[in-house]
């Protein structure tokens, strides 16, 4: 064995190593580039504004939630409640701007409150998750399961289970509006991704998040306020879920407590994993989560645009996740 290894030409060996480390380190980017190249070759009308916009809008909510999920996972936790919190925020907003909760002095006030109140409520629920995790020391997967189950119930009680339909362009700008031809939600998404990536890299808070995920005991002994950092991270995850909930109902011109954000927790976790964030915490990339979500979306788009049924696309999605997590393990050897 040893002999055969030494007889290999050295040039060959180094090139193989390079490809290996390149794949594991920048696998997500390479996959995204390949997908775009393949689509340029085979998918008709791929290089158009419309294709870009369709794919961006499909991916916005997942990325925004995924940013919060990335931060939570970076501390070594997980947040299963994001979909349910989207449903709460999505149900609350129409109740406010339709004046069902309290009489409105002016429609503009209703719209302003419909943006602020649901997001604040979702953030408060997120903080509650953090409280369960830090103060009651419940494992994150169980602690957030509480609102995963109860949250959608709360949303249904709020709306009596009714579908709320509306047409309110001022509010729906968040889901349907455009800035210089680019969907407003995509702009919002990019701003959130950029802010979170900068925060993770440059601020004390970002370092503290990664330190906690990397070694919580060492972080505590180095004076990092573990409890407060974790609570803030879950709060941010809740807040971003709230924003995503508003985008989804604005896009649909309707809020259905049963459907808003359904399965979102899994999509977000998948995007985080494919993007290259370590699921055990300590290493995280927000840009990676964006790329991960784009890959999953593009694979689905490629298959659909080329006539493969949606059910088969789901299998492809699962395959990507397996591949991504396997690559990640390789790089950790």
């Amino acid at each position: 064995m040893a002999e055969s290894a030494t007889t290999l030409p050295p040039a060959h060996r180094t090139s193989r190593l390079d490809i290996g480390s390149l794949l594991t380190r920048h696998g997500a980017w390479i996959a995204l580039a390949l997908l775009i190249l393949v689509n340029l070759a085979i998918t008709p009308n791929f290089a158009t504004w419309q294709t870009l916009n369709v794919n961006l809008t499909q991916v916005c909510a997942i990325v925004i939630v995924g940013v919060g999920m990335t931060l939570v996972i970076a501390t070594g936790g997980i947040d299963l409640s994001v979909g349910a919190l989207m449903a709460i925020a999505g149900s609350l907003a129409p109740l406010i701007f339709l004046g069902k909760l309290f009489p409105l002095p002016h429609p503009a006030v209703g719209i302003a409150l419909a943006f602020v109140v649901p997001v604040v409520v979702a953030a408060a629920f997120g903080w509650f998750n953090g409280w369960l995790v830090t103060r009651l020391r419940i494992q994150p997967i169980i602690a957030t399961l509480v609102l995963f189950i109860a949250g959608r119930g709360i949303a249904q009680v709020l709306t009596n289970g009714n579908l709320q339909v509306f047409n309110l362009p001022n509010f729906q700008f968040i889901g349907l509006g455009r800035v210089f031809g680019i969907p407003f939600q995509a702009v919002l998404m990019i701003v959130i991704v950029a802010a979170a990536a900068w925060m993770l890299r440059r601020t004390v808070f970002g370092r503290q998040i990664l330190a906690i995920g990397g070694n919580e005991k060492a972080a505590r002994l180095s004076g990092i306020p573990v409890t407060s950092v974790k609570q803030r991270v879950y709060l941010i995850s809740g807040l971003l879920s709230g924003i995503a909930g508003l985008i989804v109902i604005a896009r649909n011109s309707a809020a259905d407590a049963n459907l808003v954000g359904l399965g979102m927790e899994l999509d977000a976790i998948a995007a985080v994993a494919v993007g290259g964030t370590l699921l055990t915490g300590g290493r995280a990339t927000v840009i990676g989560t964006l790329v991960g979500a784009l890959i999953i979306q593009l694979v689905r788009y490629t298959l659909l645009a080329n006539g493969v049924p949606d059910a088969a696309a789901l299998v492809a999605k699962a395959g990507i996740i397996v591949l991504a997590v396997w690559l990640q393990r390789q790089s950790h050897r």
Binding site: R202, T203, V204, R207, L210, A211, A218, A219, L221, G223
Partner: protein, 509 residues
């Protein structure tokens, strides 16, 4: 008479590093045999080889006259070797019988044979002189009885040899008495016991003979009664009394009692491990905390740093009293703490040298929450140079560094905060000789510049060399304060074994 157990010439290597070297252990029938040694001396490896958890590389094991090599703890158990671990798990709301027969229920015609099982439980407990209604739930009985039930269950009917691995570490004094009662019962009925403990009093209370382990080797067996406490401690630590030199210390003699101590701990108590611990540290002074494993050293300093909550006592630091309730408070007040487990509580493996080094300093390096990278790099470069940290650069991941260089980064993590007091728990554990010397000389240099250092080390030589004053802890109490000429290995070992008076005598005699 043929001994019940005879392990001879046992060798074991882990990844090429010897853990056991021709170790031997001979246990007679009906004997309580103590197995003692420092952490890493090879006690657990020895026991795990006996019970089939590990495979030996060389040597021979005779059990009950036959050569054996168990492939699993279950197989060892079937052959009559029971092991009782530190924690005992039972189901409190089920009956005594169910607890005893759990996993080996008797059946008749496919149904549980309750009367046979009750009978079995009663007979088993009778062996330990326990007469209780086995149909009642376990929680109806006091803890001591529950403890006995647990031990009875573990031992069962067939045990010829019972291994107790630090069985008393989570028991209070009354429960320890109960356990000793059981051990005497076992002995009376011809069962042998291997008793692993760090508490010397317990060894003298129940054990007949002792095997002492050191660096994977065994010291010849001796009857307990023929060994003094001092003999035990010196054999464990590997120093012959004749070798111990009187290394007088002139440094620091004039220093104490003149200035106010920066740290003053009085009558500290935490759980079962720390009962009454007092010590103090002055500026510019290196104070050692010595003691056997489980004496309460680490627990005490963790409480000082706010990592654990004390039950009683006062901790005075830099003019305040009991104001520290979390590590963050301690750090703000001017303390640093290098934990004994570098991997588990020190480094953040995936982060760079720079990020690890500035972890505690980070809030001070930031303006409005944004890290000032330029200042951070400046601090890191300075400390890499000053401590001679060998790395490819500040961005190298700390996991790739050697143990000694990782420890230097952790020291720098605190030194860059300009602390008043630095607490070092086993600062040289798992570090090569060169780095060890470097770290110790650095500590001395820092103390010369006014830093107060509180140092725990299991290597006696190291503490005696570095410290100008040593507090010796024993079973959670401060047993002695040694200073001046009394700071030598002999007095420290005497204090570890006996307490204060004997230490004084040893110092003068």
């Amino acid at each position: 008479m043929v001994p019940l157990l005879s392990m001879q010439g046992i060798d074991k290597r882990f990844a090429g590093i010897p853990a056991l070297r021709t170790a031997e252990l001979v246990v007679e029938k009906g004997e309580v045999h103590a197995l003692i040694g420092q952490n890493g001396a090879g006690k657990s490896t020895m026991i795990k080889i006996l019970t089939g958890y590990y495979r030996k590389d060389a040597g021979e094991i005779l059990f009950d006259g036959r050569p054996v090599e168990f492939s699993s703890p279950q197989e060892a158990q079937r052959s009559g070797i029971s092991t009782i671990y530190q924690e005992i798990n039972l189901v409190p709301f089920r009956s005594v019988t169910e607890n005893i027969c759990l996993g080996r229920e008797k059946r008749r015609f496919g149904l549980l044979d309750w009367s046979a099982m009750h009978e079995e439980a009663r007979t088993l407990l009778a062996r330990f002189s326990i007469d209780i209604d086995v149909r009642r739930p376990l929680m109806a009985y006091p803890t001591a009885v529950q403890q006995m039930v647990a031990i009875a269950r573990a031992i069962g009917f067939d045990a010829k040899l019972v291994i107790m691995d630090e069985p008393t570490s989570s028991l209070d004094e009354r429960e320890v008495e109960v356990l000793f009662g059981v051990i005497r019962q076992l002995k009376a009925s011809g069962v042998s016991v291997i008793f692993v403990s760090h508490k010397l009093d317990e060894l003298y209370a129940v054990c007949d003979r002792v095997t002492i382990m050191r660096d994977g080797r065994t010291v010849p067996v001796a009857p307990m009664a023929q060994l003094s406490r001092l003999d035990l401690v010196t054999s464990m630590l590997g120093r012959e009394l004749t070798q111990v030199l009187h290394e007088g210390h002139d440094a620091g003699n004039a220093r104490d009692d003149v200035r106010e101590p920066v740290l003053k701990v009085s009558h500290l108590a935490i759980g079962r491990k720390v009962r009454d611990v007092s010590f103090d540290v002055h500026p510019s002074e290196i104070v050692g905390l010595a003691g056997l494993l489980g004496a309460g050293r680490t627990e005490s300093v963790r409480a000082v740093f706010g990592a654990d909550k004390p039950d009683a006592g006062t901790i005075g630091f830099a003019g305040t009293e009991n104001t520290i309730s979390a590590p963050l408070d301690a750090i703000r007040a001017g303390m640093g703490f290098c934990s004994e487990d570098r991997k588990l509580e020190g480094i953040i493996p995936d982060m760079s040298v720079r990020e690890n080094l500035t972890l505690a300093l980070m809030p001070q390096l930031a303006r409005r929450g944004i890290v000032d990278e330029a200042r951070s790099r400046e601090v890191v470069d300075r400390f890499i140079r000053r401590l001679g940290i060998r790395c490819t650069g500040p961005e190298q991941r700390i996991r790739e560094l050697s143990g000694g260089n990782q420890q230097k980064v952790l020291l720098a993590r605190w030194l860059c905060m300009s602390p008043k007091l630095l607490i070092l728990d086993e600062p040289t554990r798992g570090i090569d000789v060169g780095a060890k010397a470097e770290i110790l000389s650095l500590i001395r240099e820092l103390a010369g510049q006014g830093l107060a250092v509180l140092m725990i080390s299991s290597e006696l030589e190291e503490v005696v060399e570095a410290a100008s004053r040593i507090f010796v802890l024993r079973d959670g109490h401060t047993a002695a304060e040694l200073k001046g000429d009394a700071v030598n290995e002999q007095t420290v070992m005497a204090a570890m074994a006996h307490g204060h008076e004997e230490a004084q005598e040893a110092a003068h005699g």
